[in-house]
């Protein structure tokens, strides 16, 4: 239904694949800003884990806080 087929008049398909094939030297080796290449096997995203846990901790804290403000506290609440 979404896929419309029309006669191919001006279709330009080139075989030059310069964007998607990996050159002989890896991108990391060509890039002077990169000190060393880290492969999937040696990569441990510990920093990401730390940040994610921090985010969750903040979410949980805010929820607890919100619970006190909204439901346990004396502040205006919807059911009044």
């Amino acid at each position: 239904m979404l896929i419309i087929n029309m006669p191919d008049e001006t279709s330009h398909s080139t075989d030059a694949n310069s964007n998607s094939t990996e050159p002989a030297k890896s991108w990391e080796q060509r890039n002077p800003e990169i000190e060393r290449e880290i492969t999937i096997d040696e990569y441990q995203p510990t920093g990401t884990l730390t940040l994610t846990l921090l985010y969750f901790a903040i979410v949980v804290l805010m929820w607890i806080f919100m619970y006190f403000v909204e439901f346990a506290g004396n502040a205006p609440s919807i059911i009044d």
């Binding site: 998607s20 510990t46 994610t52």
Partner: protein, 558 residues
């Protein structure tokens, strides 16, 4: 060789879309500045309060609907062309959707701006949510309908390219840049059915006077059927940038191809059947359906959290390849001097903050505390106003050179721009959230009432008003910087064969580790339709039996 030289035809289309997007951004942003000064009573000399709603409509429509849609079209033309390695199949078709979309935009914009012309009978101060009882000139709705139809054609264009590509590459995985674009468009097809029915079936006949009475609940429901998914239509292209390009800008690679595809599949499935979470306060919809929408909304947190993890892990990979160490110290090794990187990264941080207020909005009971207060604009300026808009601006610093074959000019100004946006938005949004908690309404030219004082939880009203105005001013300065850098680079940047490093490395964990079933578009599309039917058929049936087609009749108890 950069994109311009390899795909000159696609580059032209993408550039045309970006030009329209940036003009909409400029005008819409100017209106935002005026609003921020007007509603806080810092300066009310530009327009009188009656015209505020015309400006607000212009701001919402030009930024949330027009800027986003055109930018997304340009971005996807770039991504699909490049990843499938083929120019659009038929340039007449491609240009025809571009021009149709532009004609639609002009009709819509003219009706809105007509409200600023004294004694003009052409008006459309109906806000970007445009459902009754507010009524606009028919050309407003017709223009919007054209934009939607043209966006469908754009999607068809990309599916067309994909089908052609598939014939030559029967066994390959869908390239990730195309995968994300096609899934976003499938979601768009599912959700725009709602507005299309609303606009063509109800609003156009009503604005032409053929139908005189409309029960407001039906168009509201149809609008919000579209209205939540549209936020993902804005957001997924930002994710597109974060998944596909940001890792490379950070000096690393996308962490996982499979994770990326799973996230887009979940968004296709769950984006639409949650629309009732914008109607928590609407009578006429059973609380059970609202609860179902709330539960689904909470499920939608999952793909956003997966995105948080994958994108941060990809950035961390980059930082460690650049020599970063430790649990948090690696963050300092990220390229905080690259405008494109900084914009995307700050946009992502704001989005995480928007997640906090989003969870409040999504909770059915707590929502009532902030419903229709300025808290809500405070929230979505973090999401669409920053996560999306700042990402789009930032990635323009990387895309426009590829499309024009010119280097970026004024890199220092370009670097200041995202930081300024982040600062301005924090100030404005923080004060909007706080004012909303005090009950200050949104969409109000003069939120002051005689014999009544708002009571902020802390601080004073005057202090919050000033914070909004100052934040809005910094945002406007940032926007001017952006437009200046882009215009100058576009017109006068140094010509180059390789104006930026546009190479995108393969993911760390590539498509070969991704389950094949994720690429089965028919399956996921069918499931998405089934979920929508489940979520919407019962409530619609309930509304019909409540007499939605007999406007003016007394409600019957159900």
């Amino acid at each position: 060789m950069t994109f311009l030289h390899q795909y000159p035809k696609a580059a032209k289309v993408a550039k045309a879309n970006f030009i329209v997007a940036f003009i909409a951004l400029a005008i819409g942003g100017l209106f935002g500045f005026i609003q921020a000064l007007h509603r806080t009573d810092v300066f009310r000399g530009f327009f009188n309060s009656g015209e505020y709603y015309t400006l607000l409509t212009g701001h919402g429509v030009l930024l949330a609907l027009i800027f986003t849609t055109f930018f997304i079209a340009g971005l996807f033309v770039w991504g699909v062309t490049r990843s499938l390695d083929r120019e659009p199949e038929n340039m007449t078709f491609t240009w025809s959707w571009f021009w149709l979309m532009t004609i639609g935009l002009i009709m819509t914009a003219v009706t809105i701006l007509g409200g600023l012309v004294p004694d003009s009978s052409i008006r459309a101060a109906v806000l970007y949510t445009f459902y009754p009882p507010l009524q606009a000139h028919p050309a407003f709705y017709i223009g919007l309908a054209l934009v939607i139809v043209a966006s469908w054609m754009a999607g068809a264009d990309w599916f067309w390219s994909y089908n052609k590509w598939r014939k030559n590459h029967p066994d390959e995985r869908i390239p990730i840049l195309t995968f994300m674009a096609l899934f976003t468009m499938m979601m768009w097809y599912v959700c725009t059915i709602g507005v299309a029915v609303e606009v063509v079936g109800l609003l156009i006949p009503w604005s032409l006077g053929w139908v005189t009475e409309i029960e407001p609940l039906l168009p509201r429901t149809l609008f919000w059927y579209f209205g939540h998914a549209v936020v993902y239509f804005w957001l997924l292209p930002a994710y597109y940038v974060w998944y596909a390009i940001l890792p490379k800008l950070s000096g690393g690679r996308l962490f996982s191809d499979a994770m990326t595809r799973i996230v887009f599949v979940i968004f296709l499935l769950l984006s639409t059947p949650v629309g009732y979470h914008h109607q928590y306060a609407d009578p006429g919809i059973s609380v059970g359906f609202k609860f179902y929408a709330m539960a689904t909304t909470m499920l939608l947190l999952l793909p956003s959290l997966m995105t948080l993890f994958t994108v941060v892990a990809s950035m961390e990979h980059g930082a460690r390849q650049r020599g970063g160490k430790g649990y948090l110290k690696w963050i300092g090794k990220l390229p905080w001097d690259s405008p494109a990187f900084v914009g995307c990264a700050l946009a992502g941080i704001m989005f995480a903050a928007g997640g906090f207020s989003g969870m409040i909005n999504a909770s059915m009971n707590i929502n009532l505390l902030i419903h229709n207060t300025i808290w809500v604009p405070g929230h979505f300026h973090l999401t669409v106003g920053t996560a999306v808009a700042l990402t789009f601006m930032a990635i323009s610093y990387w895309l426009i050179p590829q499309l024009t074959g010119r280097k970026l000019k004024f890199k220092t100004l370009a670097l200041i721009q995202p930081y300024a946006w982040f600062l301005g938005m924090t100030l404005m949004s923080n004060a909007m959230h706080r004012a909303g908690l005090a009950g200050v309404p949104r969409r109000t030219a003069e939120p002051q009432y005689s014999g009544f004082e708002f009571e902020p939880i802390f601080g004073t009203m005057a202090e919050m008003d000033w914070q909004i105005a100052i934040g809005g001013t910094i945002l406007t300065i940032s926007l001017i910087l952006f437009l200046w850098v882009i215009t100058a680079s576009w017109m006068g940047g140094e010509k180059s064969d390789r104006p930026v490093d546009d190479y995108i490395p393969e993911p760390l964990s590539g498509a070969e580790h991704t389950p094949k079933i994720l690429d089965n578009m028919k399956l996921w599309f069918a499931l998405a339709i089934i979920l929508v039917l489940l979520a919407y058929s019962f409530p619609l049936w309930e509304m019909i039996s409540d007499g939605i087609f007999e406007p003016g009749a007394l409600p019957r108890p159900s």
